[in-house]
């Protein structure tokens, strides 16, 4: 039976595993895009860990991923709860609300760019009318960080909505009904029935979304390019720039490896705890 997995294994070894190993070799060399260069030991890792920009990018990666995971989970879960009972137009709304996930990122980044950075468009005018003056959504470092995070939440909430909708469907309606009859109010039912019974899906969607967020290049790069003054540079953007703009693949790969190591460690701990708790 295991033979059936052979095509996938061969493909993954050639196009995934081999490049990772090659990249691992690059990480301990000082070459450029074409040649490997000289062996330099862990110098690339040392350079990365002592570079202030690395730590700044790491900080933004954490902020960006926390927003991506929890911001989109809260909105996605709320929408999943809203769409659970039957009502007119439910299925239409279910599809419409998934659109931010389906519309290509190149397109949505352009529309967010127009919405936030064009002087005559909606958000700058709204901000001015509310008395905030001229808000530079993408030109001011702090505002750019906030804008990118909100953009990420907007792109990611449909994934959470799908995950949590599926989890909610797994709850026996009788259990909720019984709690209601016993006098549990909506908040108590959410706290003691819905949240525990969807805990497994919640954790898994957090792990997956953490993975998607940390590795998300296009969302940041297309909206701000990592600027202004590197305020929205995440580790993946820094790695991309080190490879393709500074032509230091070893350094870029070292950054990616440090990032992936942190990510895998975190996911494995979470998965193990999940199994230990033996969640539903």
């Amino acid at each position: 039976m295991t033979g059936l997995a052979l095509p996938a294994i061969v493909l993954m070894v050639v196009v995934n595993a081999y490049p990772v190993i090659y990249a691992g070799i690059q990480a301990v060399h000082d070459g450029d895009l074409l040649g490997l260069g000289n062996f330099v030991g862990f110098a690339n890792f040392q350079d990365a860990l002592t570079d202030p920009l690395f730590w700044r990018s790491a900080r933004f990666t954490v902020i960006f991923s926390l927003c991506g995971v929890f911001g989109s989970w809260i909105i996605g879960f709320a929408l999943a709860l809203m769409l659970k009972p039957d009502f007119a137009g439910k299925n239409l709304f279910k599809i419409l609300l998934l659109l931010p996930w389906i519309v290509p990122i190149v397109v949505s980044s352009m529309s967010w760019n127009w919405l936030t950075a064009t002087p005559g468009s909606l958000l700058p005018m709204l901000a001015a009318d509310l008395g905030f003056g001229r808000v530079m959504f993408l030109a001011d470092p702090t505002m750019a960080m906030i804008t990118v995070c909100i953009f990420k939440i907007w792109i990611s909430y449909p994934f959470m909505m799908m995950m949590m909708s599926a989890a909610l469907e797994g709850i026996e309606p009788n259990i909720n009904e019984a709690a209601r009859v016993d006098g549990a109010n909506a908040r108590q039912r959410l706290r003691y029935i819905v949240l525990p019974m969807t805990a497994r899906s919640t954790y898994i969607s957090w792990i997956l979304m953490a993975m998607f967020s940390v590795n998300d290049f296009a969302t940041i790069y297309l909206l701000t390019g990592g600027g202004p003054v590197n305020s929205t540079t995440s580790l993946i953007v820094l790695a991309y720039r080190s490879v393709f703009q500074d032509f230091r693949p070893g350094f870029g790969v070292a950054i990616s490896f440090l990032m992936t190591a942190a990510l895998v460690t975190m996911s494995v701990i979470l998965l193990r705890q999940m199994r230990k708790a033996n969640m539903q």
């Binding site: 993954m12 990249a23 809203m82 709304f93 296009a218 490879v243 996911s267 998965l271």
Partner: protein, 281 residues
């Protein structure tokens, strides 16, 4: 509707009126959430700069089809995405079957292998693949890009297929095996034949990933005539930053195929099950 009258009422509140309230509230939320997408359509109807037209117009669409390579980009994107989708399903379906039915150390190891590979960012794969593909003529080629799309979707595709196969009772295959069917025969004739929703679901995922990708196309596609939509559109956007009408008209062309596919096939699409495949064993 007469059915509402016969429905038992659990609450003092009229269920029909409560339903209408929910519809209205959901409609408002949906409108806000879709704002950035509505903006795309609204801007696409703007006349080009330096023309005499005022008010909404479809002239921008005439312009982009006549003056840009958008049809070529559309064709390239369609080819790459279709190829990647077909290969992804063909590869992931049997592998997902193993993940779903298989037990023991080898399967667990395989499962971990997929998970770890999935954790690496595409940036790590790109340079070694670029060097490797350069030696076999796959750089600046649509097939080369399609192969990378398969590689980046195959992990989740395996989980999705595996999650669907979990819902098919193993007794069906066992009956077939007793009747002399091989493992492969049982998989194709029994399991796969009953898995249309799972296959479509996986195909939609692989298609969306390929259609929407930016990074791989940016690195691998060099000549104008190989550009896919994301690169073509981004280049066009950089050259016409302030002329939003035609730029957004191109954007409308780019977002239409995935939205149409999803609208037609959404009842098959389900991603909720992948959690079980990921954390189950």
């Amino acid at each position: 509707m007469s059915t509402t009258a016969t429905r038992p009422r659990k609450l003092a509140l009229d269920p029909r009126r409560a339903g209408m309230g929910r519809t209205l509230a959901t409609a408002i939320v949906t409108l806000v959430m879709l704002g950035p997408i509505l903006v795309v359509f609204w801007l696409a109807l703007r006349p080009r700069l330096y023309t005499d037209i005022t008010g909404p117009t479809l002239e921008t669409f005439v312009y982009i089809f006549a003056e840009t390579d958008i049809l070529l980009w559309l064709k390239n994107s369609a080819m790459v995405s279709t190829l990647a989708t077909i290969i992804s399903v063909i590869v992931a379906a049997p592998a997902g079957y193993v993940l779903s039915r298989g037990r023991g150390g080898a399967v667990s190891a395989y499962s971990l292998f997929i998970f770890v590979l999935q954790s690496f960012p595409v940036v790590v794969f790109v340079i070694p693949l670029f060097i490797m593909f350069a030696s076999v003529g796959l750089v600046d080629s649509l097939s080369g890009v399609a192969i990378i799309y398969v590689a980046s979707s195959v992990a989740v595709a395996c989980w999705m297929m595996s999650a669907y196969f979990d819902t098919i009772p193993v007794t069906l295959e066992e009956a077939a095996w007793i009747d002399g069917c091989s493992v492969f025969g049982g998989f194709v004739r029994i399991v796969l034949r009953n898995s249309l929703p799972g296959v479509l679901s996986t195909a939609i995922y692989a298609f969306l990933l390929a259609w929407n990708d930016y990074l791989v196309a940016l690195v691998f596609l060099r000549s104008d005539d190989r550009f896919t939509l994301p690169i073509g559109l981004q280049t066009f956007f950089q050259q016409n930053q302030t002329d939003w009408g035609p730029v957004m008209a191109c954007a409308v062309v780019m977002l239409t195929p995935p939205v149409l596919i999803f609208a037609l096939l959404n009842r098959f699409f389900s991603i909720g099950g992948i959690g079980g495949a990921l954390a189950g064993k």
